[in-house]
């Protein structure tokens, strides 16, 4: 199912890779909360959602994509773990200064996209587009996996 362009590479692993990562994270979840299992569905749902995103980022190739790196960094920060990746290009400073200067712009579509895609705040527009494409593919994969899981586990 991996599709590729001539110059832009947006390959995404197969569905089972996502599935395995997600299941692993779910099993992690169960082991982490053995007794004091807070039975509020909301709490569990939130945990599951976080686990889903982290597993998706891992499955999509941990540090080879900007958005996955940003996601994992964000998750690690929430757990108070400091995880840092080497080799991060920073073509950033000029862009940031220009944004501050013209701050009164109406929220354009690209700005909204930056808010949605993790790590999109400091990316060039062309890079943002690439990351969005890969992000969309990975998201749809993850949704398929979770749908299969729910369908399999729900009482018939």
């Amino acid at each position: 199912m991996a599709s590729s362009d001539k110059t832009i590479n947006t390959d995404v692993p197969e569905k089972d890779v996502f599935a395995i990562h997600f299941l692993q994270s779910l099993s992690n979840l169960t082991t982490q909360n053995p007794f004091n299992s807070p039975d509020t569905t909301n709490y569990r749902a939130r945990k599951i959602k976080k686990a889903a995103y982290v597993s998706m980022a891992k499955a999509a190739g941990g540090s080879s994509r900007l958005w996955s790196r940003a996601l994992l960094g964000r998750a690690a920060k929430e757990n108070n773990k400091i995880v840092r990746f080497a080799r991060r290009k920073r073509k950033v400073t000029w862009k940031i200064s220009s944004k501050r200067r013209s701050d009164q712009r109406a929220p354009e579509a690209t700005d909204r996209l930056r808010n949605l895609v993790p790590g999109g705040g400091t990316m060039e527009t062309s890079k943002l587009m690439e990351e969005t494409a890969h992000y969309i593919k990975c998201l749809s994969m993850q949704v398929k996996v979770m749908q299969c899981l729910v369908d399999g586990l729900s009482p018939k």
Partner: protein, 327 residues
């Protein structure tokens, strides 16, 4: 008698050519005298393939010769002849050139040759023709000359523009951007154009990805659609996670059953070697087993240890079992 010779030769070919050459001589004069500064691509002298001065000389030379009298003799019947001081080109070279030009013109002025009966050409006929058709043909020829000139000038200008843009392009060989006609070609705009093309290419990629974006015209709407799609996917993830949380009040992940239940959906022959390698790379043993051990101590419940430890061999055997179960 140069003129008669000329006429005789001409009439053999066809009266029309003689006509044309007659008319052209006048046109030559007009063109050459009135528009001397008109230069390279456009003027008639380029057609003649000789410099202006030489052409002028030839014309004046023929003028000075006694051709005038000859002409008046011939065209004596036709008194109000417009070509009063006809300077018929007696030079053979000029005649050839004129013939060529007339041939070209006759191709365009096809109807004139169609009208005039071409079979038997008498001198009288030839003389009579100019009186009737000469004004018409003169206008035609003049128009055609001017049109031809304009076309040539236009072509020259356009070619010059194209060459200019291509020259500019050659100066910057490392930028593989084609400077189109009428667009600026300095460094900044080239870089801008390259960047814009990059963004447009990626936008096309996104358009193919998001369903229903091909029909939309305009980048703003496409971007809105993409944003909607991303938001909907994120909402779906949240919804499914809530459903997952609700499905099992106590998430006891009996992986055996999970894998069995997902039999038909996920694992229909889609397991490839990669996933196995990934599994083997995972540091399961050192990481999970103590926790599993703790679990076993504290939970007497449904944790079938054997089947839930994710060891490579175990994993490999799982799909086989599942595949057996699948119909």
């Amino acid at each position: 008698m140069d003129l008669t010779h000329g006429f005789g030769a001409r009439s053999g070919i066809g009266p029309v050519t003689g006509l044309e050459s007659l008319n052209f001589s006048d046109e030559f004069r007009q063109l050459v005298t009135t528009t001397p500064p008109e230069n390279s691509g456009g003027s008639f002298t380029a057609l003649l393939e000789m410099p202006v001065t030489q052409a002028m000389e030839l014309l004046h030379f023929t003028d000075s010769s006694s051709s005038q009298t000859n002409i008046t003799k011939l065209a004596g019947d036709i008194s109000p002849h417009p070509f009063g001081t006809l300077t018929f080109p007696s030079n053979s070279l000029l005649l050839d050139r004129a013939a060529r030009f007339s041939v070209i013109a006759t191709e365009q002025n096809g109807y004139i040759s169609g009208e005039t009966p071409s079979s038997s050409a008498n001198l009288d006929r030839v003389k009579a023709e100019p009186a009737e058709t000469d004004s018409v043909s003169e206008n035609q020829n003049s128009k055609q000359n001017q049109n031809k000139r304009k076309e040539r000038e236009k072509k020259a200008k356009s070619s010059m523009k194209k060459t200019k843009s291509s020259v500019e392009e050659d100066k910057l060989p490392y930028v593989h951007v084609r400077a189109r006609r009428g667009q600026a070609t300095d460094n900044h705009s080239l870089a801008e154009r390259a960047r814009r093309e990059k963004i447009n290419a990626r936008m096309k990629l996104l358009q193919e990805l998001v369903p229903g974006c091909d029909k939309i015209q305009g980048t703003a709407l496409v971007l809105d659609e993409i944003i909607n799609h991303v938001q909907s996917l994120q909402r779906q993830v949240e919804m499914l996670s809530m459903r997952l949380a609700a499905v099992n009040p106590r998430i006891d992940f009996n992986l055996d059953t999970i894998l069995a239940s997902e039999n038909g959906s996920l694992m229909d022959g889609s397991f490839n070697g990669e996933s196995y390698h990934q599994l083997q790379q995972w540091p399961f043993d050192g990481y999970h087993q103590p926790e599993w051990g703790r679990e076993e101590d504290q939970h007497q419940a449904d944790f079938p240890m054997g089947s839930t430890t994710l060891q490579p061999n175990q994993k490999i055997s799982e799909p086989k079992r599942c595949r057996r179960r699948s119909p």
